[in-house]
Every structure is written in C-alpha cells, then in structure tokens.
C-alpha cells in the first residue's frame, strides 16, 4: 500500500501550490498515472479519502487519468506500438522496444479557489 505514501506526496505538493497562490481551498486535483507504474487507482482514491481530512483538499475532487503503455521500435520507427501484456519486444521484428508513455506519475493541474 505505497499509494498512501504517494498520496501524501501529492497532497503536500498540492498544499504547497495552494499556499503559493494564496488559496485556502483546492477544488480539484487532476493526476496522470501511467499504466506501467505500480500504482492502483482504487488504492490511490482510498488513500485520498483518508488523507484529505482537515487539509485544503478536504472537499476536492480527485480525477485520475490512466495513461496506456505505448512504445516505439528502433527498427520499425514509424510504428507506435500499444503494449497489452508488458512484452517489451517488437511484435514485427523482435527488437527491444523503448517505452514512450505509460511511466507518468504527475499532477497535471489543480483547481484552486
């Protein structure tokens, strides 16, 4: 359940931003979490419900966008490959793929009052 630690970080960053902008209330937190991160959306939402109490984000809405895993092949360079089963080998030529998205773990934006 490292989602608790991750949500703690998210709230610290969000509260810091709210303070910086002179805001006492966070209305919305939008996250982008890649599929190739070991983070479970439900656990993150649960952690948010536990940790938001008595913070500026107490009544905030949490939106989590899941970013699918995509990769490119060094040989078949025009092909944008969608990865379903975490196989990091090109289905066309067998080369090792490099991940282009799916490793995101960021706060995209906050809505502050």
């Amino acid at each position: 359940m490292h989602e608790m630690a991750i949500m703690q970080s998210i709230l610290e960053i969000a509260e810091g931003e709210a303070r910086k902008h002179g805001s006492k209330r966070i209305n919305r937190i939008k996250l982008k979490i890649g599929e190739f991160r070991g983070v479970v959306k439900d656990a993150l939402e649960f952690s948010f419900d536990v940790l938001r109490v008595n913070t500026p984000a107490e009544n905030a809405e949490l939106e989590i966008e899941t970013v699918p895993i995509r990769a490119e092949c060094p040989n078949c360079s025009d092909v944008d490959i969608s990865i379903n089963d975490f196989t990091m080998i090109c289905p066309n030529c067998g080369a090792i793929l490099s991940i282009t998205s799916g490793r995101e773990m960021e706060i995209e934006y906050l809505d502050l009052e």
């Binding site: 960053i13 975490f86 990091m88 080998i89």
Partner: protein
Amino acid sequence: MHQVTIETGIMEANDHLAGHNRELYDEYGVYVINLMSAPGAGKTSVLEQTITRIKDDYKLGVIEGDLMTTMDADRMSALGIPAYQITTGTVCHLDARMVHNALHNFDIKGLDLLFIENVGNLVCPAEFNLGEHLKVMVYSVVEGAEKPKKYPVMFHEASVVLLNKIDLIPYAGVSLEELRRNVYSVNPEAMIFPLSCRTGEGFDAWIDWLRTHLNAKIAGKGLVGKS
C-alpha cells in the same frame, strides 16, 4: 477559481533525496546495490552466500529493511559485516529518506560495496529510487512462472535477476527456460543468473559478474547499471 498547471512529478521529493544519496555514495566511492524480491524469495540467503564469497576481497556493508525485527542485520553481523537495520513499522518499502537517515547513523566511508536489502515486496519498492547504482532482484522458481507478467514494473526495473532455488525446479512444475523467457519478455536486457543458495550451484557466474563490476568501479572505469 483558477487552474494551476503543476510541473512537479509526484515522486520528485523522493527522487531529490535519492540524488543526494547518490552524491554521497559517489563521494565515498561506494557501489550500491538495491536488492529486492517477494517475501521468502531468499534475499537474505543470497546476500549471505554472496558476502561469504567476496568478503575477503572487498569492504562490504549492508543496510537491511524490514517491517519488524533486527534478525536480518544480526545474520549479516554474524558474517563480520557492518550492518544497519531499518525497521519500517508498517511501511511496505524503503524510500530515499529512510536510507538517507540511516546514512547519518551508519558509516559507509571506506566501503567498496553497500547492499541495501529492501522490504520483501514486489510492488512498492519498484517505485522508490534509493539512489542506488544497480537494482538486483531475487526471483525464486517456486513463485511460479507468471510472476514477471504479474509484477512487470519490478521486473522491468531490475538490471539483474537472480533466479533462486533452482534445486527445487523438479518440484516447482516450471522449467528454467520458461522462467527466463518470461523475465526477458518484460525486461529483454535483464542479466539472469540461475542459482541455488542450498547447493551453491550457479553462484560462480553471478560472483564473477559482480567482481568484474566492482573491479571496474575500483579501477575508476565507470559504473554500469541503471538507477
């Protein structure tokens, strides 16, 4: 109401401290390995067997991470190796801050190699960079062949996978070939060393590779491995 775009990564606080840890390791010339696995895969036994084979040639230290008890640090101390135990309480992984704090109490000056044995867990430790030079995973054959697909992040992050307990292959219902294939599909660049702590089989290849790595470090030829 206004929208604020944030450019800070969620893990930045941890990554920042991990960067500090790395500076410290490099300043003291200590090569650092983050050892990870599921509970019971044999991290501590692999460490004991590895240490026994190289301790006369290198100055070693160990930081142990566990929820409770100092048993693992005691096992390392029994080998004559300086060891420091981090007990995380209920936390399922080590993070850069815990290691940073440990470094205030545990002198790594003069060491060639520091092992950090992470909390037994295949999910959480993969997300927390400790500033290490190399991530090594222990994957025991009795865990089943599908583990890499179930825990792809950890298997993808590890540069070295030690396939432990190969003496149990006849009873595990898996083949070494299948295990290798499944690790490679998630991490085609992984170095895989099948071995057994019980019989000692396979340790020569792993130890040779590790020595080559360390000697390159000591000779100042640069370090291999991703962090």
